[in-house]
């Protein structure tokens, strides 16, 4: 070991500066890599990035669209963050999001035009959370009581939820399908009472609900007795068991909470900008983007909010790029690159790299300094 040039050792708690610096540098590094790809394929990276910033933040309309895109990402980000923090590998945000949308639209249509907004809105949003939690439970219950690997089950449930949504709209004459359109099937519009009011261009109050729900999650995990127990389980299931904490119930609780948050996102998306169970508007990979948000936020439930706005800005910039002849997929490539660098950056948060100690320093000098 003596002749090594560097020593890598685990560090205790990383400073907040480092924990801000690493994600910021991940984004910068991803932009550089993306820029190289763009340049190699004949685009001007500066022009592309300029266009992205402009379309995301350059106008009031841009800002409102960015926040619309950010709303579901805050919630799918929280969904991934709470689960990953407890080492519950819920990769099923996508499916839970869709199931939330199916439940929310279903309840909205079932309530019909008669229900006033103060009843319809809470019912629809809670239905979204319920849908997500129900869908998560299909993977959560076998995980907790049988030890089934949840990575694969939650993943497979994504595709089943997608197929179910397609079935409800394209494959059947379900109540979700608009009976008045016969040419190309689409979702039945939900009643106006179940739609979130808009206040700034197309931006609806869903953004405030999402932020409030993120704060609730932060409070539940960080400030309550239940959250304390859950965090112990996340740190070490063995010590939790020793302390008499019911580990299976805590894991089940976190799993369902994670599913509910992804479901809330689906509910808010249906009662907000989409207004129907519309496969083309809902199959956007928002559950997966939530994983990027959570990783870049260092699994911190409040940091998720600004990171979701950044990712929302990126998502929102895609269509604008098309107008200057740059592929919309530039955005998903950049998001993927950001995630890769954020993951690699975890190393620098968890470890310290230093030069090996030179010859022992005389103690006197140290005292004098």
């Amino acid at each position: 070991m003596a002749n090594r040039r560097f020593i890598v050792e685990p560090r205790g708690l990383a400073s907040w500066r480092l924990r801000v610096l690493v994600p910021v540098l991940s984004v910068v590094a991803a932009l550089v890599v993306g820029g190289i790809f763009l340049a190699l394929t004949g685009e001007n990276p500066f022009e592309v990035y300029g266009q992205m910033v402009d379309s995301a933040f350059g106008s009031t309309r841009g800002i409102s669209e960015t926040l619309i895109s950010a709303t579901p990402l805050i919630l799918t980000g929280v969904a991934a963050a709470v689960a990953f923090k407890m080492l519950v590998w819920n990769i099923g945000g996508e499916g839970q999001f869709i199931m939330g949308a199916i439940f929310a639209a279903g309840f909205a249509i079932w309530l019909g035009d008669g229900a006033p907004a103060f009843i319809a809105l809470p019912v629809v949003i809670l239905a979204g959370g319920l849908g997500g939690a129900v869908w998560a439970s299909i993977a959560a219950i076998p995980r907790v009581y049988l030890g089934t690997n949840e990575i694969i089950t939650t993943l497979m449930l994504n595709f089943i939820a997608l197929a179910l949504m397609n079935f409800l709209i394209f494959g059947s004459s379900s109540p979700w399908r608009d009976p008045e359109v016969s040419t190309f099937p689409q979702g039945r519009p939900i009643p106006d009472a179940a739609r979130l009011p808009e206040f700034f261009n197309r931006l609806d109050v869903g953004i405030f609900i999402a932020i409030a729900l993120a704060i609730v999650a932060w409070f539940l995990i960080g400030k309550t007795g239940w959250g304390f127990a859950v965090r112990i389980v996340g740190d070490s299931a063995d010590s939790a068991r020793y302390a008499g904490i019911g580990v299976p119930q805590k894991i089940l609780g976190i799993f369902l909470m994670s599913g509910a948050y992804a479901g809330f996102a689906g509910g808010l998306f249906v009662s907000g900008p989409v207004g129907a169970l519309d496969p083309r508007s809902l199959d956007l990979g928002l559950g997966f983007t939530g994983i990027i948000v959570a990783a870049l936020a260092g699994l911190h439930l409040l940091v998720v909010i600004p990171v979701a706005i950044l990712m929302g800005a990126l998502n929102n910039a895609g269509p604008a790029l098309q107008s200057i002849g740059v592929p919309t997929a530039t955005v998903s490539m950049l998001q993927g690159a950001i995630l890769i660098f954020a993951v690699a950056g975890e190393f620098f948060i968890a470890n310290r790299i230093r030069r090996p100690d030179p010859d022992p320093v005389p103690e006197l000098e140290e005292v004098a300094a």
Partner: protein
């Protein structure tokens, strides 16, 4: 007899299962070294786009396959670096690889003044060994008349099986996946073994991706491989980390994907089952298999590498 519904389904299942064989065996080799790589979907997509591009530019299928294999291998190095050298969470790193791969493949298909997207491949893998022998009852269509990559997939399965269980390197590989610390004491370079086998896994995933873009759906589109990469990860468990079993597991899922066409040919009432519902079948099958196989005590007999997913810290020994 060779035209019976069952036969046609089985033959189609062989085609649909072939990319799954490549990807599954690749992931088996990676996981045998103790590294879980959830980036299969991303590596397959990168292989698919790279292979398609190479064949599109050079009109050579051989070059397409070589480029796809190289691209998959190169792309997997990212995961090898983050999970072996940086020792970050293999789960998150693999997911990152998939998400990046999806974006990158889609970007490469769309970019440029004359993008690939929407273009048919200039060359497509055609069946070989056709003619008389392929008409033999039952055996004919099962063994003959496939494209060359189907035979390559059988060779890969055989070769991987032999390598894992009958060679010295295969033994070191399995030892590293079971107990890296002891392997290190026995003189095995754990990091090197892990790097090599993550890259081999990436190469095979790239080949699996190219099978989609050059044989199964030879027109470039944003998402040409469906959920094949994810299915492959499930198949590893279903095959209990054995390449031979992976072949049959892959064909089973190939058949499940084929089921909607099969039911259509059977007529009423089968043909009236909506295809959107039948699309769920492979995934439902995977979940049931997962719950049955990986639950409780049974999981122990499956043969998962003991060190799978656990970062190896040499210094902390």
């Amino acid at each position: 007899m060779n035209e019976s519904v069952l036969m046609l389904t089985v033959v189609a299942a062989i085609g649909l299962g072939t990319p799954l064989i490549f990807a599954t065996i690749g992931e088996i080799i990676t996981e045998r070294a103790g590294i879980l790589n959830l980036g299969v979907q991303g590596m397959m997509l990168v292989g698919a786009v790279a292979g398609f591009w190479a064949t599109f530019t050079t009109e050579s299928l051989a070059l397409g396959v070589i480029v796809a294999v190289a691209a998959g291998a190169a792309f997997s190095v990212i995961h090898a670096f983050t999970s072996i050298t940086l020792r970050v969470s293999q789960i998150v790193s693999g997911l990152a690889l998939t998400i990046f791969g999806i974006g990158l493949a889609s970007f490469l298909g769309q970019v440029g003044s004359d993008p690939l997207v929407g273009n048919p491949s200039k060359k497509v893998f055609e069946p070989i060994l056709t003619g008389g022998i392929a008409d033999w009852p039952i055996v004919g269509p099962l063994i003959f008349g496939h494209d060359i990559l189907v035979y390559v997939s059988w060779l890969v399965a055989f070769g991987a099986s032999y390598y894992l269980f009958h060679t010295r390197m295969g033994l070191s590989l399995r030892a590293v996946g079971e107990d890296p610390a002891s392997s290190e004491s026995a003189g095995v370079n754990v990091s090197r073994v892990r790097y090599i086998h993550v890259i081999v896994g990436g190469a095979l995933a790239g080949l699996g991706g190219a099978y989609f873009s050059l044989a199964l759906v030879p027109t470039w589109q944003d998402d040409p491989i469906g959920a094949a990469g994810w299915i492959a990860i499930a198949l590893v468990i279903l095959a209990s980390w054995r390449p031979g079993r992976a072949v049959f597991a892959a064909y089973l899922f190939g058949a499940a994907e084929r089921i909607q066409f099969t039911l259509q040919t059977l007529g009423e009432p089968w043909s009236s089952i909506p295809s959107t519902l039948l699309a769920m079948l492979p995934f439902v099958l995977a979940i049931i298999a997962m719950i049955v196989l990986t639950s409780g005590k049974r999981a122990r007999y499956l043969g998962a590498p003991a060190a799978l997913g656990i970062p190896y810290f040499r210094e902390q020994r």
